[in-house]
Every structure is written in structure tokens, then in C-alpha cells.
Amino acid sequence: MTAKDNKGKEIFKQSKIYMPIPQQLGRGDKMGRGPYEKSGILRDTTLPPGRPVHETFEIGFPSGEFDMTVDVELWYLPFGNKDSDPFLWQKVTKKASIEKGGV
């Protein structure tokens, strides 16, 4: 997800990865990559069926800024990067503002 100020300058960027992290050849602590190496699971951060996954991000407004635009995107990246066959699954854009002035 990214956040930009009123002038379009990026003020926040963070990404999270959801995937089964395969164990290389079913041993040790290394992740396997090619399907010919995947023989176990080190960790599973996939989106599980039927159970919501929640994420919370806190983004500070830069000094003197009262507005920001937040883009939240969910990508499927078959090769783990946006250079190879990426697929934009979901995207939500929202604007946030804080009050000017006040007590």
C-alpha cells in the first residue's frame, strides 16, 4: 500500500506477502523456489478460506499536510515480482483529511 500527499509525493509505502513458504527439499530452514524443490512448508501466510485477515497501518501526516491519498492494492505475483506476469486482483483508493485549525 502507498500513501501520497496532496502534491503526489509518496509519504508511505509498505507491502506484505501472503503465500505458502515452501521448505527446500523438506529439510532445514531454507525456502525452496522451483516446484521441483518444494517439499514442505516453513510458514504459511496465505489467505485462509473463510477466515478474514486484518492488517492495520498507521501513517503519519507530514508536517503542514492535511490530506493524503491511500492506494491499497492486492497483487498476485506468480514469479514474486511485478516484472513477470503480474495480476492486480483488487485495488481501493481513498482520501483522508484531518481538520484544519480548531482549539
Partner: protein, 313 residues
């Protein structure tokens, strides 16, 4: 069936004579292995299905099943990587160069991408590898690359894989699939000279049919077990175990109205149906003593509505 009656009847008559004579040879033919991609394609030729099941055939042609060994190019490239990085790099694989690849080596990929490779000789495995190398070779001519793609596209997961070869999982209970029979939702005669019989498959609407390829985890029947697809495992232990009731076919074929063009995230309807995505924001000003600290809290909720984890692999 829209075959003229006299053709259908004469075809059935001729075939009944042939099957009486060839019942022994049918098993011999089954033992005979394909020695080329062309022979394997002929062994599992489903183009005849188009004659009566045109709509379904066209749906299937749009699916990734119809190009299971080439894929979008990714599959062919991964076959090459499996050989170049995996097989040739492993001390005890017996593969020093691509030409050494045998069927048993390629079953790492073919168990799901081309299960009928089990009925082929090592020459077919070598031919697949050769074409995968040509496809991924930046120095290959466009013509050579196109020919490699065409050759790899001749074999795939077609009608006869799901409706015959893999239509029965429990062979001690239901018998071994017969080469003259297609398996679906009912018993009866089938107006096709090559496949004059039709039988009900007990698993045609069940997830286990798909689970044979979209699997459980490491394939321990292989000498070097690995896993690629694990959706059936996820389906069993994270969906059914939690009370999920639907079969793969419900979403990927029926509700989606995609029929035999089984798709996943690349289909806009499937992608939308699979994940709910909500974003809420709470911009506010935190008070740090006398100083206001403006902050925006962004909350994201993702709900996977599929019957398996996302993503797979």
C-alpha cells in the same frame, strides 16, 4: 447426439464386431507406449468429442487445461528450469544433460501437467524437454520457437484425461477405466466409434477428481518428492474441516458459468467472487502533550471466500 442415425448405427455395429475380435489386443495396445509427442497426442486424441460437444470443446480450448504443458509459457519455462537447475544439479539424479531426462524425471511436472506421460517412452520425455529448451532459448529463431510451442501444445489435459484416464480413483472398487468408454454422469451407449460406451463416474462431481492434480503436498511416489499444487490439501484441511460443503466444480464450473473453461483469478468474475476486500480509514490527531500529531489509521480486511487458501503453490 447430432450424428445421422444410419452413421451412428453402422459405426456401433462395426465397432461391436471389432471389439469382439480385438478385446485381447485392446490390453496389448494399452501396454504399448507412445514413442513421440505425436503418438501420445494420438493415443489421447479428443478432437472427435468436438463433433457432438462443440460448445464444451470450445470452452475447454479457452482453458489452461488445453495447454497444460506449455501453459502461458511459464509452464514450459519451468520445465526447462526443472532440468537446468534441478535435475542436472542433483548428484544422484542420473541427469547430466537435458538428453538424459527420462519419464521418471519429468513426472515431477507431468504427474499433473501431463499424467498420460506415464504411458510414453523416455523418448517423449526427451522430446518435451528439447522443445522446452528451444522455446526458452533467446537465440532460437521465431520459426523454431513457434514449432516448439505447437509441438508442446499437442498434448494436454483434454476430455479423455478427466472423462477416462483419471475418471476413476478407486480402481479396486470401481475398476480400471476402459479405453473404449467415456465416463460422465450416466450409463449408456455413446455415439462415437472410438468410445462406444458411456459410464457414470462416481467422482465426476467430486473434488477428489480435481485433487488428483491440484494435490495434497509432496508426491512421495516419486524418487525425489516435491509439491507444486496443494489446493486439495488446503480444501480438505482448511475448508471441509471447517464445515465447507461445496466441491471444486460448484465454483469453477457451475456458479461461474464457465463450464469446461475452468479458470481462477484470471477470470474477472472468479477473482471478484474469491476475495472480499475492504479498506477503512480513521484519520485523527493524536495529542502528544501540547502537540497535535496527525495520523491516519488504515484498516484492511481480506476475506477469502474460496474453498482453499489463496494463493496456491
Amino acid at each position: 447426439m447430432r450424428v445421422p442415425r444410419f452413421i451412428a448405427l453402422s459405426a456401433l455395429f462395426a465397432f461391436s464386431l471389432l471389439t469382439a475380435v480385438m478385446s485381447h489386443d485392446a490390453y496389448a495396445a494399452e501396454a504399448k507406449k507412445a514413442t513421440s509427442i505425436d503418438e501420445l497426442a494420438k493415443m489421447y486424441d479428443s478432437t472427435g468429442c468436438k463433433q457432438c460437444h462443440d460448445d464444451i470443446y470450445k470452452e475447454w480450448q479457452q482453458s489452461i487445461h488445453s495447454r497444460s504443458i506449455f501453459g502461458t509459457g511459464r509452464t514450459a519455462a519451468t520445465i526447462k528450469t526443472t532440468v537446468a537447475v534441478g535435475l542436472t544439479g542433483w548428484q544422484h539424479s542420473g541427469v547430466k544433460k537435458p538428453e538424459d531426462v527420462q519419464v521418471k524425471h519429468l513426472m515431477i511436472c507431468a504427474k499433473c501437467h501431463l499424467p498420460q506421460l506415464a504411458e510414453a517412452t523416455d523418448a517423449v520425455a526427451k522430446e518435451i524437454v528439447k522443445n522446452a529448451y528451444i522455446y526458452t532459448d533467446p537465440k532460437a529463431s521465431d520459426d523454431a520457437r513457434e514449432k516448439a510451442i505447437a509441438q508442446l501444445s499437442k498434448v494436454n489435459i483434454n476430455c479423455l484425461i478427466c472423462h477416462q484416464r483419471n475418471a476413476i480413483t478407486h480402481k479396486w472398487v470401481d475398476g480400471t477405466p476402459a479405453k473404449d468408454t467415456v465416463y460422465g454422469s450416466k450409463d449408456g451407449a455413446h455415439a462415437d466409434a472410438g468410445h462406444p460406451k458411456m459410464k457414470k463416474s462416481p467422482i465426476m462431481s467430486e473434488s477428489i477428481l480435481c485433487g488428483q492434480c491440484h494435490g495434497l503436498g509432496p508426491n512421495f511416489e516419486l524418487e525425489n518428492p516435491s509439491q507444486c499444487a496443494t489446493l486439495y490439501g488446503s480444501y480438505l484441511w482448511a475448508y471441509r474441516a471447517e464445515g465447507g460443503q461445496e466441491a471444486c466444480q460448484e465454483c469453477h464450473m457451475k456458479k461461474s458459468k464457465l463450464g469446461h473453461n475452468m479458470q481462477s483469478y484470471r477470470d474477472a468474475g472468479m477473482a471478484k467472487a474469491a476475495v472480499d476486500f475492504k479498506v477503512e480509514m480513521l484519520p485523527h490527531q493524536w495529542r502528544d502533550g501540547s502537540k497535535m500529531v496527525p495520523v491516519n489509521v488504515v484498516k484492511v480486511e481480506m476475506l477469502n471466500k474460496a474453498g482453499h487458501s489463496i494463493p496456491d503453490g
